[in-house]
Symmetry: C2
């Protein structure tokens, strides 16, 4: 499909491409139309050689002696990251996290459309959050199938997460962002990323206790 020079590269590269993309958007907004790997790295606390290597896995985007054309690189990264299209997403769990995600307009700007939110709490069903309806969890299967939903965000309590994930996958979802603090077991052709906020706090606690360990990247 998309351009790619090498077939193997670090998993962390994709994460960094996303950072590059955002930083470039910022530069673009500020009217800057050329940037060197050195300058971009300074902004993100990432070594310039790392940036050049990451980009080199996908193509030759820069001009020697000159750096990178911001708009051009943005376009390429958009393509590489799969952001040149719309993604239909459902959120399961209309609680705090689910609501936060539904209210975050930057997702929509990036092409992630929150088609609906599902919950099993009668009191929430029928309302809407930021324009997305809250629907009965029991209808999720039909909805996902009919609307060809590919991505889902799980924001239900840990105890319910595995069952929700199973139902989602059965309905046809193939990518899941999971906020529940459990290791969801899934078929290997389903992509699942977990966001674990407790772990982050605990890691901070560890590093507070052992101040001799100075090992941080701005990203993680």
């Amino acid at each position: 499909m998309a351009r790619r020079k090498k077939y193997k590269f670090p998993k962390t590269t994709i994460e960094r491409l996303s950072y590059y993309f955002r930083a470039l958007e910022d530069l673009s907004k500020r009217g800057i139309d050329t940037v060197s790997s050195e300058a971009l790295g300074g902004k993100l606390n990432i070594k310039s050689s790392q940036i050049r290597k990451d980009l080199s896995y996908f193509g030759d985007f820069g001009k020697r002696g000159m750096g990178y054309d911001v708009k051009y690189l943005l376009k390429e990264l958009k393509y590489i990251l799969g952001l040149d299209r719309e993604w239909s997403v459902v959120i399961v769990g209309a609680g705090h996290i689910g609501a936060a995600m539904a209210n975050y307009d930057s997702f929509r700007k990036r092409g992630f459309n929150i088609a609906a939110i599902f919950d099993n709490d009668e009191k929430k069903i029928g309302k809407e959050i930021n324009g997305s309806p809250i629907l009965p969890y029991d209808n999720i299967d039909d909805f996902v199938k009919q609307n060809k939903i590919e991505m889902a965000i799980i924001a239900v309590p840990a105890a319910a997460a595995q069952a929700v994930a199973d139902k989602l996958v059965e309905s046809g979802v193939t990518a899941i962002l999971n906020f529940a603090p459990v290791a969801v077991q899934l078929d290997e052709n389903v992509r699942c990323l977990s966001v674990d906020l407790t772990t982050k706090l605990e890691a901070l606690a560890y590093y507070m206790s052992y101040s001799q360990d100075k090992l941080w990247k701005i990203y993680s």
Copy 2:
């Protein structure tokens, strides 16, 4: 301070220790008092050798032929992770993310006390979330000093994040969990972890576009 056999180990080890801790809590609740690295790994999708190595950086916690005593390992991990004490935390930004974090009781159970939430929105000041008062952002300096706050959660818009971080550090905070999508520039003796939800979604989009890449860990 705490026990540690080797002085160098992967950064990812700490993250995993946190997963082990949570999985062990679960086992403990269910009345299981011994576990092998193999069984624990199965629960978390982590190789048993990885678990044994991670633990070996800090001590000999298991019994050969037997596995690990759940309660004992929990106690040790609690100590290692710095969870055997209370942490006073402030949240900056009483928006969606700030509210979600303040409402999450598991943090309190783990020893993270949300001492206060700060905001510059007149309409929010004076209210409280889950027992924590929302105070004027202008008072944050005094509050942090007087209450010896060490940790902070930044949940303000990206544009304000750097200024907030600077103010926090100036007031004495030395650990920050940052939700704003910017690389905050900090003195190297301040620990900062960022949670970047946009990046996670974008990474999912990438892997949806390139289904040939099957490379997932349950954690990330």
